[in-house]
Amino acid sequence: MSSRLSTGGKLIDRSLSKEFMFNGRRLKGFEGDTLASALLANDQVMVGRSFKYHRPRGIVASGSEEPNALMETGSGSKLEPNQRATTTKLFDGMRVKSQNHWPTLEFDLGAINSTFSKFFPAGFYYKTFIHPRFAWKYLFEPIIRKAAGLGNAPKEKDCDTYEYFYAHVDLLIIGGGIAGLAAASSAVKSGLKVLIVEQNDYWGGRAIVDEINIENGSGSDWIYQQVKSLSNEKNVNLRLNMMAAGVYDHGYVLLHETLTDGSNKKMELRQRLWRVRAKQTIVATGAIERPLAFAGNDLPGVMLASAVRDYLVNFGVSCGDRTVIVTNNDDAYRTAILMKNAGLEVPCIIDARPSVSESLSKQVQSLGIKILTGKAVSTVTGSKRVEGVAICSHAGSGEVLETVACDCVAMSGGWSPVVHLWSHCGGKLEWDKKNYMFKPDLTSAPLGANGEGMLTVAGTANGFLISRDVLSDGYTKSKEIIKALTGKVPKISMEKAHSGDESEILPVWFMPQGATRKLKSKTWLDFQNDVKVSDVELAAQEGFESVEHTKRYTTLGMATDQGKLSNINGLAVLSNSLNVSIPDVGTTTFRPPFQPISLGAIAGEARHELFKPIRKTSIHNWINANGGVWEPVADWRRPFCFQRNGESIKEAVEREIVNTRTNCGILDASTLGKILVKGPDAARFLDMIYTNVMSNLKVGKCRYGLMCSENGFLSDDGVVARLSDDSYLCHTTSGGSDRIHAHMEEWLQTEWWDWKVYTLNLTEQFSQIAIVGPKARQLIEKMGVDGLDLSPEGLPFMGFSEGFIAGISVRIFRISFSGELSYEIAVPALKAQEFWDLALISGEEFEVMPYGTEALHVMRAEKGFIMIGDETDGTVIPQDLGLDWAISKKKEDFIGKRAQMRSFMKSENRWKLVGLKTIDPSVVLPDGCYAVDGESNSYGHKNMIGRVTSSYFSPTLERSIALALVENGPDRMNEILNFPNLDGSVTKAAICDPVFFDKEGKNQNV
């Protein structure tokens, strides 16, 4: 069994005990424990079920590479799925649940998949569920989703907060082991601004556990001294619990800092996402031990040899009373020695190599540990945890020679440098033929903005596995960086680590060498995704030769651990099956993040109302307090209508329309874009921007204008007012102000850079209030007019004036989007609410009512006025909308002109704007529905001949009306079209003139 020993544990404090709940069981740990070490201390060896076969799974590793021990921690607004037990700190009162099992961890119905694993090979889902097509959506997918999936998504809102930090440093060092600390101390002495980060909550990395000697002292003491002296320096920032998630172009690095363990029940600042721009970065991320592939290697109790000694040294936890070591290298012998010295049994070391160095074998044998060279594990016995190992010759096919009882198997297949960060931004890898691993190819470093290397790798991450070389590489790399950054060769006293040499590793990608198919189908490569040696071999057999394809076909190296343990063994098996060398097979692409990071950290402060801030007009609060029913319009909110006591929305809209057409309405039109265009070339410029001529517009007059893209399509519309000889005010749609301003600037800066024109977006500087209806003029006159003549002659239709209304400085435009007598009054934004209030007071006797966007839409549709985004969709040219009158024939050029001259833009068959009247006047056509001609095309689809673009019930006409684009529509007046509905019924409507109301303009010309 696994248990807590009575002594030992560098990271724990035995005086502070912590109680926690695991699957409803009350367990005990100590301050400093990780969740994994605490579970092992309580003999909780099985901690989850695998993804596909629901096999029992135990803790394999001690760090971020852990594939199995994923837990659900917390509850309610603190619930977090998929937390790695090996990197999650234990706290008092912690509630933890294991995942991916049903109904319980101990008894899982899905485990039947394992029995039938023969029938679930690689690509099973692709092969099996492809037919019949409909069954995937309604039958297979829902069932598979229920059984699969890692963890449950939280249902409550996360109550914690997250934030961003930004930092600029000379040198970022990722990894706080001996190489990283050596680099930091030299860089700091050279006066560089340094940030050094470590993902664990302690410094030193592996050197803490694998006692090494530096300058005649212990490694731990050296680390303590380094950190202590660095802490006194001002030009260095030391951060623990900080994981480098990704490296991006030009020295940009994303770092994820965990601030609290989640023990606080209230809201707290939980995590921080750092965005660092570093002139240089040193990656000193160490290495990850590789598992060995043998039958039954996924049973709980089979662990990495390094993890077994981590739990022993750091946490005082024994992973088993009898531990068998399986290895192909010297490093795993450390585990054997430490376990034995802790008084635990190590029946044997199974070493695949034919021989072991004399000194090592003497040392181990003197402790009474048997070494079995040239041997391998045939299979691990046991059902829910390890009960023993069956030993065979590595050279054979797995014939069992003897069986040894044990409750823990510590395996080591060698080490793989953590090259992820090096690779994120283009660093290449090379194959180390001596140590059988991929390591950074330092001749092809990721490049910075200046074309020079921006990142280097030091220590174990650079392929050095012996402490002497690791430390020396840390100094060497920092020296190179300091020289690159300061131009000076620094004087560094390079302290030395002392370590003997190790014998060579034997490449073992699965064992035994001639393993039978039966053994291979029980030999796991990827523990998290249930990928076995047999699956990768099958993929190769079926023609998946590219490693990227094999990954996706078998799911090798996918999900939360991204193959940190499985990739290299998988690659080797693939290369073996394809009979090509490992470097020729290559690796899959390493992509950020190195470890999963929470959505909360990614969002930071950009949550809730800050996720996408709302633009508000000056009248926003009044609207909110007076029954406004909001709808989003671009980044703004506008009132759809103003609901009064007990009214339905439909009733409110109809009331607003009728009142505006009979009395007077008031509208907050402030969201309309307002762009000032000024300069000697302003007229010339607007002649290019608009389809119509703006240069001959008289000062004091307005003109409706259209803007197109270079492809000829209608992009925006609005009224242009000529303020003076050299200045125009261009109104855009509500959604168009920023886009059109940008469009103008792009042309001015990139094409007509020598034209003398300035543009200024004044959208938020002026509010615009429309007073609309037969009594509009009386209302404004009642407010008190100064310097303005509102008579039909003094301010005619499409004119504007400047003056004062109710003492407020205004620019008043006589323009109409409703067909009524209408004034749009621009006032300084800060005066808008005052103006609005005064207009309502003066308007009382004229029965003025505010109206919303729906009334505005219905009234403009009654008049056949188009709306950008309703009648246009990026494929519509003005000619389609009957707007030929607004397109200049005289101008040689304007944006969109040439494109509109193309033959298909002039085709007879284009869909053109018409009105529609349903045969049953009470039926309103659904927006966007299609007209069909009864025929079908060669694919069997119904021929579509038109589409509804706007559709409303018009209270003015007491019937439904619609605007539509219909193939050659204007030539098909009175034709009746069929519009099929979703329920199979058909609505019939007759084509008519798009202007439904007051075509002569009697109402507006008064």
């Binding site: 490049l447 903005a449 074309g451 800066q749 001259m901």
Partner: protein, 85 residues
């Protein structure tokens, strides 16, 4: 995350900018080209590898359009605009 030198704001993050494509040919005289030439001008945007002069717009900054020379393979920025004030 490229670090781009705006002539007014100096080095800023790529996310503040909008890419405007390579500096191409001048807009042809619309009255002197055939339909196909015009369509080609609008749609066939060159996409070369190696050093390219390209337009960038400091959209979430000062609003300036400017030209840099960037190696599209290595992301090295070979030329930046002169500082303006």
């Amino acid at each position: 995350m490229l670090l781009i030198n705006c002539p007014f704001c100096k080095e800023r993050n790529e996310t503040e900018f909008v890419y405007g494509g390579p500096v191409g040919v001048d807009r042809p005289d619309p009255n002197a080209v055939a339909d196909q030439e015009w369509v080609d001008f609008l749609t066939l945007v060159p996409n070369p590898t190696g050093p390219v002069f390209e337009k960038w717009w400091h959209a979430r900054g000062c609003g300036e359009w400017f030209v840099i020379c960037r190696d599209t393979v290595t992301h090295e920025i070979l030329e930046s605009p002169d500082e303006k004030s």
